[in-house]
Amino acid sequence: MKRKIDSIIEAIIFVCGILSIIFVALIFGFLLKEGFAFFKEFGVIGFITGDLWYPTSDPPKFGILPLIIGSLFVTAGACVIAVPIGVMSALYISEVAPKGVRDVLKSFVELMAAIPSVVIGFVGMVTLVPLVRTIFDIPTGLTAFSGSIMLAFMAMPTIITISEDAIRSVPWSYKEGALALGATKWQTLHRIVLRAAMPGIIAAIMLGIGRVVGETMAVMMITGNAAQIPYSIFEPVRTMTATIAAEMGETVRGGMHYRSLFAIGLVLFLITFIVNFTADLFLGKTKK
């Protein structure tokens, strides 16, 4: 009897595992099929380097350079904001804060992670956007910069929690060794503890940023959605994800516009893949 249950459970687990592989393969296959159908007709170079995105004009223009740059601005901005603040917070929580403060901060960070992204986008739209407009005295607060701040806010809980784990698992003997050599607490933290925790911190950053690269709703609500090449982060932009989400409903199934959105998905996939791959290479190197 026990044997039988065991083998049934095994079979279920096996099927689940296979299913997840099949799903990924199917999604990827679909992306490839539609994407390549588009590239065959329109060409890759013109798609990636074209600076105009007018998918519904006649003739349509499918240049996603503005979208790529839009995504790049928003994501890079989010990194610049979230990485230092996130890592510093992790350092503060794990090494500096007294116990009471630490517990409060940790639950606060967990709470931050639980806020749905639409809510963050919505709150950002009514508070952050007007603020950015007045502070920088620009025509609209719906800018790449506002999007970066929102994304940074979403990436931070992941970065903080995972970095904190990495920092706290640095062996006590390293700290003791550094202090015993006359290092101050701060020197010990940034020269030894941070360095020893670096592989974990990089993984934290990758996961945090990875979480927001694909983020759509909040970004769509806040960045102004203008498919034009921005010349500064204080201009409205539109990201690749936002484009797919916004336009998929209006396309004709099987048409060029429809397929172009899959092609964008393919490009997005490729970029994410390259980023993850580089991170893996880097992680493997620092671990040795």
Partner: protein, 252 residues
């Protein structure tokens, strides 16, 4: 001969646990002083009081004085970082930092602002590694992670790291307990060489080791200093019965 370290009526508590009770010792300059006693008697605690690394443990309270270089290190105006630079420590398990061999030795120079010119640092790194007889083995792989070394090499590196900042006192807490007998013997030889320049205090639960390397020996039991005398006297003709029982292997 002047006393380098004077421990006077020293008491230490871990929260409520009275770990050191009225300890008095005078450690002389430029010789090796050993602390022996059964496990848990407070040897490490006493050693770690001399560079105030116990301060990092929550709930530690002390009372009494430890005088190093004429000053009570537990007085309020002691600069702990300067004290620790002056009183180096080697731990029971080798604890090289997970960075390169070179950076391990250069660490103390950089954090203490002793040297910043690369040529000066290079020279000190070489001298320190030579002093622990490691230079010839590893000079071609200074950029490699220190964790790639053998345990013995790691412990030598930890000693080199301490020597690099030119302390006057070196504290060693069972430095050979994770090494094999051959490596132990070589580290002992190294210590004997180093005593001409540094004042060395070594904790060991290996009585033969204390007998081999030290000039003076302190015997501790349950947080108290039972007897402190020349090593020869402690091992052949101790004053106290407890010491005699311990060194003749009747307990511990």
């Amino acid at each position: 001969m002047s006393a380098k370290i004077q421990i006077k009526n020293f008491n230490l508590w871990y929260t409520d646990f009275h770990a050191l009770k009225d300890v008095n010792i005078s450690v002389e300059e430029k010789r090796i002083t050993a602390m022996i006693g059964p496990s848990g008697c407070g040897k490490s605690t006493l050693l770690r009081a001399i560079n105030r690394i116990n301060d990092t443990i929550e709930g530690v309270r002390v009372n009494g004085e430890i005088i190093v270089g004429g000053k009570n290190i537990y007085s309020e105006n002691t600069d702990v970082d300067i004290l620790r630079r002056n009183v180096g420590m080697v731990f029971q398990r080798p604890n090289p930092f997970p960075i390169s061999i070179y950076e391990n030795v250069a660490f103390g120079l950089k954090v203490n602002g002793i040297a910043s010119r690369k040529s000066v640092i290079d020279e000190t790194v070489q001298q320190s590694l030579e002093a622990v007889l490691l230079w010839d083995d590893i000079k071609h792989k200074l950029k490699k992670s220190a964790l790639t070394l053998t345990l013995e090499q790691q412990q030598r590196l930890c000693i080199a790291r301490v020597i690099a900042v030119k302390p006057q006192i070196i504290l060693l807490d069972e430095p050979c307990s994770s090494l094999d007998p051959v490596a132990t013997q070589r580290i002992e030889e190294l210590m004997i060489q180093l005593k001409d320049i540094y004042t060395i205090v070594i904790v060991t639960h290996n009585m033969q080791q204390a007998a081999r390397v030290s000039r003076d020996t302190a015997f501790m039991l349950l947080g108290e200093l039972i007897e402190f005398a020349e090593t020869g006297k402690i091992f052949t003709n101790p004053n106290r019965k407890e010491t005699d029982d311990y060194v003749s292997g009747r307990f511990g």
